[in-house]
């Protein structure tokens, strides 16, 4: 029955994409397909965290940004001006200062081993943090100022293959998720949501303002593709219109392969002992803990695993768009959108998450043209009636998708709280 429902829904989705494709043309729909499948990977990551583990991660945006920064760093061509300047040396010193500060704070936190306890230890820790911060700032500030003016503007990339950048995106996200998870996962739901949203805002502020690292609002482009770009294909004699379609289809196949691999493993893990344990923890972590399960550790695993998929997805999106613009990330587009995908699709069900991602992304993207078409119609009518046209149709229409997204999640929560393809709850006989 559920299988039947899933198949019907996916068939419906296929028809929807086809119809929209007929309207928008093959080049546009292939673009939307690449992006929606990248979002499917990200949604899968959230489904692991929320659907399997019940972890309320509101910091998806931060993970996507990290993935984007990672692929920029790995795959963008080498900036010779930076490597030829004093920049690397200054940065090295800043790194040393950072390491020194880390050791200092670590030492203060373990000061009880040498007999410093209680209030003294707290005071020492605070002092260590202050000293570490001052030392680090004293090194990084001049280094940043130097790089941004004389040292080549920013550090540039490593010129490696983009797929390596995606891998690094996953690794970087995993590293940050480890730290975030270690400090935040003890918090209960609402607090975890607020803490993660706060952390993702901190990540955004850093990546946006560390011009020496990411060029900040100056943006980085063009970021290379792992597959041939349209210009490569044009050089081989393919027409301009077709080149875009083929290039995007090439990229799409790579994204789908990665999604399929991730899906396969995630699905297997869900059915296996690990997944059963995760669900036990989600549904009653007190009982699971009393049965000797290491709840915190399992939750940390799940948080990292989900974040890895988010990091890779974020990296793929940046590669595809060929531009990294830290100023373009918004909680609505990069956190809440994904939540709507998972809730509408069906938290706890991987098919649901993928379905939700594809459906919501296409809804999100076509809300704009549909609203524009609608407004033009109303505007024409109101002009005929002598009331004058609607002003600024274009910018208003593009805001409609935020509204549509809100309506969609409200309806979903009210009428299908478990999603369109709900989690299958197996009853043990």
């Amino acid at each position: 029955m559920t299988l039947h429902r899933t198949a019907t829904l996916f068939a419906g989705l296929f028809v929807l994409f086809t119809v929209i494709g007929l309207f928008l043309g093959a080049a546009n729909i292939s673009l939307l397909l690449v992006q929606s499948f990248a979002y499917a990977l990200i949604a899968l990551g959230l489904n692991i965290q929320w659907g399997y583990g019940g972890l309320f991660n509101f910091g998806i945006m931060g993970m996507l940004m990290l993935g984007g920064a990672a692929v920029t760093f790995v795959s963008f061509p080498v900036n010779a001006a930076f490597w030829g300047s004093d920049g690397p040396m200054l940065l090295g010193r800043a790194l040393l200062a950072f390491a020194g500060g880390f050791v200092l704070v670590w030492g203060a936190r373990h000061a009880d081993r040498v007999g410093v306890r209680g209030g003294w230890k707290t005071a020492l820790t605070v002092l260590a943090w202050i000293v570490a911060y001052i030392v680090y700032r004293s090194q990084i500030d001049p280094a940043a100022a130097y790089i941004e003016t004389e040292g080549g503007g920013w550090i540039g990339g490593l010129g490696l293959h983009p797929v390596l950048g995606w891998v690094f995106g996953g690794v970087l996200a995993a590293g940050v998720a480890f730290v975030v998870g270690r400090i935040c996962l003890g918090l209960r739901t609402d607090y975890l949501a607020i803490a993660t949203i706060g952390i993702s805002e901190i990540i955004r502020a850093l990546l946006k303002n560390m011009d020496w690292l990411t060029r900040g609002t100056l943006t980085v482009s063009p970021i290379p593709w792992p597959t041939p770009i349209p210009q490569n294909l044009q050089a081989q004699g393919i027409s301009i219109a077709d080149s875009f379609i083929y290039a995007r289809l090439g990229f799409l196949s790579l994204v789908i392969v990665i999604l399929a691999i991730a899906f396969f493993f995630v699905q297997r893990a869900y059915g296996g002992p690990w997944g059963r344990m995760m669900r036990a923890i989600r549904d009653n972590h007190v009982a699971a803990a009393s049965m000797g399960k290491n709840v915190t550790r399992r939750q940390l695993e799940i948080f990292i695993l989900g974040s890895v998929l988010m990091g890779i997805g974020g990296a793929m999106l940046v590669s595809f768009q060929q531009i990294y613009d830290p100023g373009a990330y918004q909680p609505i587009n990069h956190t809440f959108l994904i939540w709507v995908m998972v809730i509408v699709g069906g938290a706890g069900n991987n098919w649901g998450a993928v379905f939700g991602a594809l459906l919501i992304y296409i809804t999100w993207m076509i809300s704009d043209p549909v609203a524009q078409w609608l407004f033009n119609g109303i505007s024409g009518w109101s002009t005929d009636m002598g009331w004058g046209p609607i002003p600024e149709i274009q910018s208003r229409a593009s805001q409609m998708r935020v509204f549509v997204l809100g309506v969609v999640i409200t309806i979903a929560l009210r009428y299908a709280p478990r999603g369109l393809i709900p989690e299958v709850v197996k009853r043990e006989a």
């Binding site: 609402d190 607020i194 706060g198 946006k208 935020v402 509204f403 929560l413």
Partner: protein
């Protein structure tokens, strides 16, 4: 002395103003959490919406000639805006949250629902007002108040704007009114009782639905007030409150979610932390330059200005980890 007045203007005045806005916003968040047990993420958008209601009313009042040179029109229409916003808040509860509560949904579901409300309100505001910036002071001017300091050698004056002064007065009135309501009135005490122990409140025969409605009325009115104050101080933008909802949550959490007085203290704490951390301390050190063993740099702020909002998030995260129940643990609300 001039440097100290510079400090006063940039840190104390700015901190009090920012703190007032945060405090008024945080009270709403904390009341809703206390009664309904979920983090109401749409609170920032209720603020923006309240500000836009006030803006429309102010435009209407100006068009009708109902203005006075004594106070900016924005303040004149504030009570009406608060009243209307309270009504909208009640409507939001009825339309979005009450049906879920009736079904017995978990607080987490309500939290997600509040994201939906955020998106809907924000979409609607942008639909009608575009994404540009609006100002209450297109026609009127912001009056600047300068107070000279009667000390020898002091050339700087203590500066603040008239809206800022009115804001602080409004905040004081609101806080006082809330205090009287919570400690003296039957419904206010019932609100505290429900925040303390909702099951027992129900068993005592307290009309919990009425308490929920009163909570939305107060939260909605205060959100409109905070939003309008923010718009009067800075400017009015559709994403005005999106940046401010997190510092407000930070304030509410620092004060201990569910504790009204904690939220007020938390609001001022976050406000001052922000202004203190972006203040250029070199200004205060420069007169002592000869006595100091090191050279005073041109700028010496704890964090660069572009990280101003980040300060609130860092405090938020630190408090969450160090003392998730707020720094005033044990204090009763």
């Amino acid at each position: 002395m001039n440097e100290l007045i510079f400090f006063f203007n940039n840190v104390v005045v700015a901190g009090i103003v920012l703190g007032s806005i945060y405090a008024v916003g945080a009270i709403g968040v904390t009341l809703i959490f206390g009664i309904l047990r979920f983090a109401h993420f749409a609170h920032g958008d209720m603020m923006t919406m309240g500000a836009f209601i006030a803006f429309l009313l102010a435009m209407a009042a100006t068009a009708l000639g109902i203005t006075t040179p004594l106070v900016p029109t924005g303040f004149l229409v504030l009570p009406i805006a608060m009243f209307l916003a309270a009504g909208v808040a009640l409507g939001l509860d009825k339309g979005f949250y009450a049906p879920l509560r009736k079904r017995g949904a978990r607080p987490v579901t309500l939290l997600i629902a509040s994201i939906g409300v955020t998106l809907i309100i924000q979409g609607l505001i942008r639909l009608f007002f575009g994404s540009g910036t609006w100002s209450f002071f297109e026609i009127e001017t912001k009056q600047l108040i300068r107070i000279p300091v009667p000390l020898e050698g002091v050339t700087r004056t203590i500066n603040f704007t008239q809206p800022q002064l009115l804001m602080v007065i409004c905040t004081a009135i609101a806080v006082l009114a809330l205090h009287v309501f919570l400690t003296r009135s039957r419904l206010g005490k019932a609100m505290r009782a429900m925040a303390d122990n909702a099951d027992l409140a129900q068993v005592s025969g307290i009309n919990t639905k009425l308490v929920v409605r009163v909570t939305w009325v107060i939260a909605g009115a205060l959100a409109a007030m905070a939003g309008t104050m923010l718009a009067l101080d800075v400017s009015l933008k559709p994403d005005l409150a999106f940046n401010i909802v997190l510092p407000i949550f930070a304030a509410a959490i620092v004060g201990g979610l569910g504790q009204s007085y904690g939220a007020i203290a938390g609001g001022f704490l976050i406000g001052f932390a922000e202004t203190l951390s972006i203040f250029n301390w070199s200004v205060l050190l420069r007169p002592l330059a000869n006595a100091l063993p090191f050279e005073v740099p041109a700028t010496l702020a704890i964090v660069p200005t572009e990280y101003k909002l980040t300060v609130a998030f860092v405090i938020l995260v630190v408090v969450l980890l160090w003392r998730p129940t707020g720094i005033f643990k044990g204090a009763s609300s």
